[in-house]
């Protein structure tokens, strides 16, 4: 099993993600350069957080034109596992691999803090090791995390159970107050129809070691490794 972490110019969680995959999980992990045209036979490709192209124009808007994105699109179409974290999620939206867009946070400020997430769907390759309704403690760090989509798409997302994480309070209740950035329906993470592309604003790689205060992010990595190994969501 091989993992790849894409480096765009301006990525800044590339090393962090690589560290978790390689040093915490001991997986074979490589960096993938955005100008290349090969995913080097990776089974899991992660678009990490950061400010690709400075987030100039619009978050993720320029990165989606990186040469490697052509291969990524094909890989995703073939059912390859793709995880977009924070800026990586924004790139996935720009690529059209996931629906919707990100607006500025409702308070119009960058926001870095731990949040509570409700795990809404455990029947995905990225969450099968978690229990439904589990409350995860994972940090966010973004300026543009206020998820928006059109009403029709939103209905589809809900009907197909594609909302994977939602911002919640300490008791797991989905409230306006716990909706830190103003996202529609408190959406913090989404999966595509086929279940192989996940985008999430919170940073699981920042919550994968006890010394950093939380290991709740591991549920994402545990799950995808389990799925890649067994092909099972059980």
């Amino acid at each position: 099993m091989k993992c790849g972490v894409v480096i765009f110019p301006g990525s800044n969680c590339d090393f962090d993600t690589h560290h978790v995959l390689k040093n915490v999980y001991g997986r074979d992990t490589v960096f993938l350069w955005h100008k290349d045209h090969s995913l080097h036979n990776c089974d899991l490709v992660i678009l990490p957080g950061g400010f690709s192209y400075g987030d100039y124009l619009r978050s993720g808007a320029i990165a989606r034109f990186s040469p490697l994105m052509q291969e990524l699109q094909e890989f995703a179409d073939r059912g390859g596992m793709v995880l977009g974290i924070c800026n990586g999620f924004q790139v996935l939206l720009e690529l059209g691999l996931l629906p919707g867009a990100m607006l500025r946070n409702k308070n119009l400020k960058f926001l870095c803090r731990h949040v509570h997430l409700s795990l809404e769907n455990t029947a995905t390759p990225f969450t099968n090791r978690g229990e439904k309704g589990r409350i995860l403690h994972i940090p966010i760090a973004h300026f543009d995390g206020n998820y928006y989509t059109d009403p029709a798409t939103l209905i589809q997302l809900k009907q197909n159970n594609r909302i994977v994480f939602r911002y919640c309070d300490t008791d797991g209740k989905i409230t306006d107050e716990s909706n830190v950035n103003g996202s529609m329906e408190n959406i913090a993470g989404l999966i595509n129809k086929d279940g192989n592309v996940l985008g999430m604003m919170p940073h699981p790689e920042r919550a994968s070691e006890a010394i950093l205060g939380s290991e709740d992010g591991r549920v994402v990595f545990d799950s995808v490794f389990h799925y890649l190994k067994t092909g099972s969501l059980q």
Binding site: N12, C13, F51, Y56, K109, F110, E205
Partner: protein
């Protein structure tokens, strides 16, 4: 012709001009004059401070590089070196808060990665005027956004710092930015231009007209026209700097260069002449090859521009192609603009003509140094007299008023805007007082803190200087870390005023004495003079940045109470000291008296003790009372905990209750420990000869303090917490 008007526009005296002519053997042309104006500015030359800075102790067993380079370097074991420095960006941040602060971050980052280190932490010491004033709010908002905008984008976490609010900063905010990077101890790079014939490469952003005379601006007082200086402030591009950072670390990793220097203050002028001077070489450049983003720039403008995100490299000719390939990978230009020469001259060509031809030494090393007159200011006679006001009846109200004071209140509104977790090393979140980072691949960690109480320095600069060092070290000790090295940012008013010069010299004496006592070297720093607006000077504000190491990161303790039933101990003695306290200032509106006394021997014993008992695992939490004294410190130990335990404390000291609760006596630490550790702790304290006594226990839902059998503080946690948390957000959301 150079006349008086031109000289004054360049902030040069006639005497300095005569010296220039003497040194270069001719009348300088306007470009050469511009070069001298920058390099001989206070900001670049330290002409008023150099003689005094020599007093600071700079040697120590861990020092790899002391003052004089881009940053100081200390050995932190495991084959690693910590490269760190603090620098001010005060003047630009007043004129244009967002860009001023942002480029302050950009500048200090370049100082660190220029030496081959990857920056892993940023901290800021910020000083603003009171938030009741709309202009101060807008400066605060702009500065915080600027730091966030730059630091977040480049991916270096802002992990801590301090923020003070005081009227003396209303027209002169202070923005001091600290950065620390980690390098392989055997792969450190310096600003060298060695080897005649070697290529001089310009990399990074194109040169524009921004920031011309920035360093000169930072070397003069502000007046009503300061707004007009806005074009002197540079504009930052963190994305470009991120590319530059990665490209530079890559060429250094591949050993492709001889030397490297960032273009910060004084841009191309400073980098070329300093690199040459450091190596005893000459340097020749051709300005027509310098990438430019504006048309029709003159030689004067190109040499003096302070455009951001630029570096100068020296590489042997056979490596130039490899260097350019790495930069091309990161979509950056790397252009050969000249070469290293034999001899000692800086020669600059422009449109085929030589426009500068002067000895590098004259610019870099031969600026006149000043021993400016100093005199103890008269105000000190007056402020030393303190008639203590009557103690207020309702001390609960006093505590709430203190918690509402923005200097003491929760800073989450600020640090939540900073990405403080990127790079996944942040063990303690900001707000803890001390930043603690793990070092991946080792068992150890680095602790960092910034400290400096300017009110103490105003009332007694020498004691204030000593306390700044002692308190910063105490912050580290409370985590369990030992201090290894110091960087300092010395912010003062106009040094041409004898009273300011005296404050400066006294503060340095205080810092030196304390550093010697703790055995920690000063490895570099920055002096910022002329922090005056319309004739009013800031309080003298030394900011000490101290870096320490903890051998076993999992032994570190934080400030917050951990378990119900833990006992609370006071290490150190209480004294009736209210002079210079935040309590007198906030509650009684008076800045008088003398700051608390500091005995460095007592201080060292206290710190040694806390480090040893933390290492032995005897302690659950440790915090040092600072502004607001014991009562505020106890409250903060509660607020920092997500579990929100209260406390019940009983004190029997014979003194005024307000002094006991809010006095800022030094060399004290509040710690909590499990009850079964009590006997071991007390006997360890006895053996170490430090005063330690049990004063209460953790638990309940109230902040509860009794003094000599009388309840003096009794407030529900939530009520106090609300005041402390809402102070800054409520003020910042005021619209009028």
């Amino acid at each position: 012709m150079i006349d008086k008007k031109i000289l004054s526009e360049h902030n040069l005296t006639e005497e300095e001009y005569r010296r220039i002519i003497e040194l270069i053997g001719k009348e300088p042309n306007i470009t050469e004059l511009g070069i001298f104006s920058l390099m001989w500015s206070e900001h670049c030359s330290y002409k008023s401070s150099k003689a005094h800075l020599k007093k600071l102790p700079v040697k120590g067993e861990h020092v790899i590089q002391g003052p004089g380079e881009n940053a100081g370097i200390i050995d932190i074991g495991d084959g690693l070196a910590a490269v760190f420095k603090i620098e001010s960006h005060n003047h630009p941040s007043f004129i244009e808060p967002y860009q001023g602060a942002a480029t302050g971050v950009g500048g200090i980052l370049r100082d660190i990665f220029t030496m081959g280190a990857r920056p892993i932490a940023l901290l800021d010491s910020l000083r603003f005027g009171p938030l009741e004033n709309a202009h101060n709010r807008s400066i605060t908002d702009g500065v915080v956004s600027g730091i966030a905008g730059y630091g977040n984008a480049i991916g270096v976490p802002t992990v801590g710092g301090e923020t003070y609010f005081h009227p003396s900063y209303s027209l002169n905010p202070l923005v001091n930015v600290f950065c620390l990077g980690i390098a392989d101890k055997n792969k450190i790079f310096y600003a060298k231009a060695e080897g005649p014939g070697n290529a001089v490469l310009y990399v990074g952003s194109k040169t524009g007209r921004d920031g011309i005379h920035g360093a000169t601006m930072a070397s003069a007082e502000f007046d009503e026209d300061s707004e007009k200086k806005r074009p002197n402030v540079q504009v930052g591009d963190p994305f470009k700097e991120k590319l530059l950072l990665e490209a530079c670390l890559e060429i250094m990793d591949q050993n492709l260069i001889v030397g490297i220097q960032d273009m910060g203050a004084a841009g191309l002028t400073c980098s070329t002449s300093e690199m040459a001077s450091n190596s005893g070489s000459g340097i020749e450049i051709d300005l027509d090859r310098v990438p430019q983003r504006e048309e029709g720039m003159t030689a004067y403008e190109i040499m003096l521009s302070e455009s951001q995100e630029r570096m100068l490299l020296v590489a042997s000719n056979d490596k130039v192609k490899d260097v350019q390939d790495v930069f091309a990978k990161w979509d950056l230009d790397a252009v050969v603009i000249g070469r290293v020469t034999d001899g000692d001259r800086l020669k600059v060509r422009f449109h085929g003509e030589t426009v500068v031809d002067i000895p590098v030494d004259s610019i870099v090393n031969l600026c006149p140094l000043y021993l400016r007159p100093s005199r103890r200011p008269d105000y000190l006679e007056d402020t030393a007299r303190l008639d203590l006001p009557e103690q207020p009846e309702d001390l609960n109200a006093v505590l709430l008023q203190m918690l509402d004071q923005p200097t003491i209140a929760d800073k989450e509104w600020i640090y939540r805007q900073y990405d403080h977790m990127v790079q996944t090393n942040t063990v303690f979140l900001p707000g803890a007082g001390t930043a603690l980072l793990r070092l991946k691949g080792t068992e150890s960690g680095l602790a960092m803190t910034l400290d400096g109480n300017s009110l103490y320095c105003y009332l007694d600069p020498r004691t204030g200087g000593k306390i700044a060092v002692a308190e910063a070290c105490r912050n580290l000790a409370c985590v369990g870390a030992r201090p290894l090295g110091v960087t300092n940012c010395l912010n003062f008013g106009n040094p041409e005023k004898p009273g300011i010069m005296w404050q400066f010299m006294e503060v340095i004496e205080g810092i030196s004495e304390a550093c010697l006592a703790f055995g920690i070297p000063v490895t570099g720093g920055n002096v910022s003079f002329y922090n005056d607006t319309e004739g009013v000077s800031i309080h003298p504000t030394p900011v000490l940045g101290i870096v320490g190491r903890i051998e076993k990161i999992d032994r570190a303790v934080s400030t917050c109470f951990k378990s119900e039933g833990d006992l609370i101990f006071l290490l150190g003695e209480n004294r009736e000291e209210l002079g210079g306290s935040e309590y007198l200032r906030t509650v009684h509106g008076t800045e008088r008296g003398l700051p608390p006394i500091i005995d460095l021997d007592d201080e060292k014993r206290v710190q040694e003790f806390i480090i040893s008992v933390i290492d032995e695992g005897l302690v659950s939490s440790a915090a040092d009372p600072s502004e607001g004294g014991l009562a505020v410190c106890l409250a903060e130990c509660v607020f920092a905990s997500s579990r929100e335990f209260g406390f019940a404390v009983e004190l029997d000291d014979e003194m005024r209750t307000d002094a006991l609760l809010f006095g800022e006596t030094q060399s004290r630490i509040l710690l909590s420990a499990a009850p079964d550790k009590k006997i071991t702790l007390l006997s360890a304290a006895k053996n170490a000869g430090v005063p330690l006594r049990e004063i209460g226990r953790v638990g309940g839902t109230r902040l509860d303090i009794r003094h000599r059998d009388r309840s003096v503080i009794d407030i529900p946690i939530l009520e106090a917490l609300r005041v402390w948390k809402n102070s800054i957000p409520e003020r910042m959301s005021t619209k009028t």
